[in-house]
């Protein structure tokens, strides 16, 4: 479970988030939609503790990140928060100097202090599970975009986060590959993962997300069950966006 309460964030004198609140129940998936510049990505970065919020509270399990905390304590809790919240970046940010296996095992070994052999075994299992057999010892630069993305997903997954964040998971993929990613995310849903997926593609989120949240100008315009928001939007701005997007 992750909850955002009245989040405010400004960057370079520009207000990016204006009082964003929502909650994602365990085992459910929230899709966040909105035009570029609506604050979707910044919101995700705040939820991962990469950006400091100006006001508001983020709660995930027993971690409570309050904007009013002093810097040192905020940084300490942001680190705890990141242990509960995994992130798959739009541009993946795989580590180019490490093999696929190295990318995946680096954090479990050095952050969680797990046994390397055990982590490697688990990594191999996860890779096999998502159809990436035999790439463990290759380097990211030799993989296709789709393969790289799956490596990034496994890298986040192996930390066993309570919540997985996806930033525009299909922006770099062709339609066939984007269908593959959707199938993969469906499997995660079936396994009971909690996810937040930011995407500009409504089609991708349709029958993937339980709930949808439409953002505009840093505000939550509408937050509802997916089919309700898609087929019976209440706010005129949501209606406008959906009409243009389709």
């Amino acid at each position: 479970m992750i909850r955002a309460l009245n989040l405010y964030k400004s960057k370079d004198g520009k207000q990016i988030l204006r009082g964003v609140s929502f909650e994602v129940a365990s085992g459910t998936t929230l899709g966040i939609i909105g035009a570029s510049g609506s604050g979707k990505t910044t919101l995700l970065r705040c939820l991962n503790g990469l950006e400091r919020i100006d006001r508001g509270v983020i709660e995930c399990g027993d971690v409570r990140l309050d904007a009013s905390l002093a810097d040192v304590e905020y940084a300490r809790r942001a680190k705890l928060l990141r242990r509960r919240v995994g992130m798959v970046f739009q541009h993946l940010h795989l580590f180019p100097h490490l093999s696929v296996l190295g990318n995946i095992t680096e954090a479990p070994v050095h952050v969680l202090g797990m046994q390397r052999s055990e982590v490697e075994r688990e990594a191999q299992e996860l890779l096999a599970e998502i159809g990436l057999q035999g790439v463990a010892h290759r380097y990211p630069e030799s993989l296709s975009g789709g393969e790289q993305q799956r490596v990034a997903i496994v890298r986040a997954l192996i930390m066993r986060p309570d919540v997985l964040l996806f930033d525009e998971p299909t922006s770099a993929l062709d339609p066939r590959r984007s269908a593959n990613v959707r199938a993969l995310l469906r499997r995660f849903i079936a396994q009971g993962h909690t996810m937040i997926v930011v995407s500009h593609s409504i089609r991708f989120l349709e029958d993937l997300a339980d709930h949808l949240l439409y953002m505009e100008g840093g505000e939550v315009v509408e937050h509802d069950r997916a089919e309700a928001l898609l087929y019976a939007p209440k706010d005129a701005r949501t209606q406008d966006f959906l009409r243009q997007a389709r």
């Binding site: 991962n48 503790g49 990469l50 680190k79 990141r82 242990r83 995994g86 992130m87 970046f89 541009h91 993946l92 940010h93 795989l94 580590f95 180019p96 100097h97 680096e106 954090a107 050095h110 952050v111 969680l112 630069e141 030799s142 993989l143 296709s144 975009g145 789709g146 790289q148 890298r155 986040a156 930390m159 770099a172 993929l173």
Partner: protein, 495 residues
């Protein structure tokens, strides 16, 4: 050295001017090294723009007999014979000893002084009573002198200095075990030093003569006659007595001359042979390599700390690191070495020469490497930090495991290039008498006149080490360029 050169050029110009303006009287241009040159010829402490010394007075007496006007040309002791051959002056009057190798290149006048050698040690020294005890010790002396040849002949490890002051100071600081020097210098620079004492009695060294260019037989006759004259009329004795240099040996020399006896003197021979020279060069090459690697190790470690310190925005640490970097990049490395070698002992920190060079070059290159690190760290995309953070890594862990390995790859080619530069820059250690390739070249070449051949050999030594490194740097650069192109291709394929 360049200051000395400038000074000698200035003196030379002055000499030329004077010779033009007073054509009536011929000049006698005499070359000598006045730095640390007491009591021969040196700067008058009471009157810094004037030289004094017993040889200066002697030259004045000689010139008066020859009907010439003396003009002194300040020069570097170690290169004094080549300077004479180039015609920078007409005679060498600088406590010059006749040696076989010099005899092959220049003429000698009759001897005008008999010198003894004196071994000096620190006051508390217990193990050295004579030269025999110096087998495994390091002895300082002037480069290319009878003393240095004696040491080379006896197989005693020694270090050649450009002036006696530096040698005695290094003895005081414990960088040397003993100093062997002509008695006139020993008397002037060491005898009154309470921290030093003579080891054993002085022993016969040889004679001083005036050096002339080959073919200047007429001038040699003139000079010989003038020497005889000032010995006969007691002028030289008066000068030597005034400088406390008159002793039984001088009386003997004067007596022999009055009797018309030819004075026989043994010439020290340079013990130079190519096998020995190559061995000494190889040792110098090893020191050069050791200096380069040691200094680079310091530069890489300290440079990284500086780069990290500098990246902490705004704090005093960042300011301190920036100040360090600006200081070491903005001042010549030669000056930094001289400061470390001569300045630090004043606050009680006397490092041996090689260590000073190693640390000094390391400190200097750390400033440059910090900037290589900085550029490389900045070249690692921000996303790499964020990906590491998002996996729960602390800044330190992210830096160590994710950022630094990538930055090192980016930094490797420029660092290899810097290493090649550092390798060549080790030659500045010659300024503090470290026996590396440049010092070896200068000393061996000065001693033998084989500037050309030894120059080629030394260059080959340098190239054998720097060319493969430069080649490696180029290959690394090419590999990185290929990898970047590959990554770009992969990125394009996915969009």
């Amino acid at each position: 050295m360049s200051e000395k050169k400038q000074r000698s050029i200035a003196v030379l110009c002055l000499a030329l001017l004077c010779s033009v303006s007073s054509r009536a009287q011929q000049v006698l241009r005499w070359g000598a090294d006045p730095s640390g040159g007491a009591p021969y010829v040196f700067t008058d402490p009471a009157n810094p723009d004037q030289y004094i010394g017993y040889e200066k007075e002697m030259v004045e007496a000689l010139a008066a007999h020859m009907g010439r006007r003396p003009v002194m040309v300040a020069t570097d002791w170690e290169a004094i014979v080549p300077a004479l051959e180039r015609g920078e002056f007409d005679v060498i009057v600088n406590g010059l000893e006749p040696t076989e190798d010099r005899a092959a290149r220049i003429l000698f006048s009759r001897p005008y002084y008999v010198f003894n050698l004196q071994l000096t040690v620190r006051r508390e020294e217990r193990n050295i009573a004579s030269l025999e005890d110096c087998r495994n010790k390091l002895v300082g002396t002037l480069g290319n002198t009878a003393a240095s040849r004696l040491l080379a002949q006896r197989g005693i490890p020694f270090r050649g200095y450009a002036d006696p002051v530096a040698a005695y100071r290094d003895l005081e600081l414990g960088r040397l075990d003993a100093v062997l020097m002509d008695v006139p210098m020993e008397a002037y620079y060491a005898r009154d030093n309470p921290r030093l004492r003579p080891a054993g009695p002085p022993f016969r060294g040889g004679v001083y003569v005036i050096g002339l260019r080959k073919g200047d037989e007429a001038l040699k006759a003139e000079v010989d006659a003038a020497i005889e004259a000032i010995m006969r009329d007691g002028t030289l004795e008066r000068i030597l007595r005034r400088w406390n240099l008159w002793d039984a040996a001088q009386a003997e020399l004067h007596a022999a001359m009055r009797k018309g006896e030819e004075v026989h003197y043994a010439m020290t021979a340079a013990t130079f042979n190519w096998g020995d020279a190559l061995k000494r060069l190889a040792r110098a090459a090893a020191v050069t390599v050791m200096l380069a690697f040691g200094a680079m190790l310091i530069a890489l470690a300290l440079g990284l700390l500086l780069a990290i310190g500098q990246s902490k925005d705004g704090g005093w640490l960042s300011a301190l690191c920036t100040a360090y970097i600006e200081f070491f990049r903005g001042t010549p490395v030669l000056v930094q070495l001289l400061f470390l070698y001569f300045g630090l002992p004043q606050i009680g920190l006397a490092l041996p020469g090689w260590l000073t060079a190693l640390v000094g070059l390391g400190l200097n290159y750390a400033a440059y490497e910090s900037q290589v690190y900085r550029a490389a760290l900045e070249a690692v995309p921000r996303g790499q930090w964020e990906a590491a953070y998002s996996l729960g890594m602390s800044p330190a862990l992210a830096f160590r495991r994710i950022i630094l390995p990538q930055a090192l790859r980016i930094a490797l080619p420029p660092m290899t290039n810097d290493f090649v530069s550092l390798f060549k820059d080790t030659s500045v250690a010659f300024a503090i008498s470290v026996w590396e390739l440049a010092t070896a070249y200068r000393e061996l070449a000065n001693a033998t006149g084989e500037f050309l051949l030894l120059g080629v050999v030394v260059s080959v030594f340098y190239l054998a080490m720097s060319l493969p490194l430069a080649h490696a740097a180029r290959r690394l650069e090419q590999r990185q360029a290929r990898r970047r192109a590959l990554q770009l291709q992969a990125a394009e394929a996915t969009t």
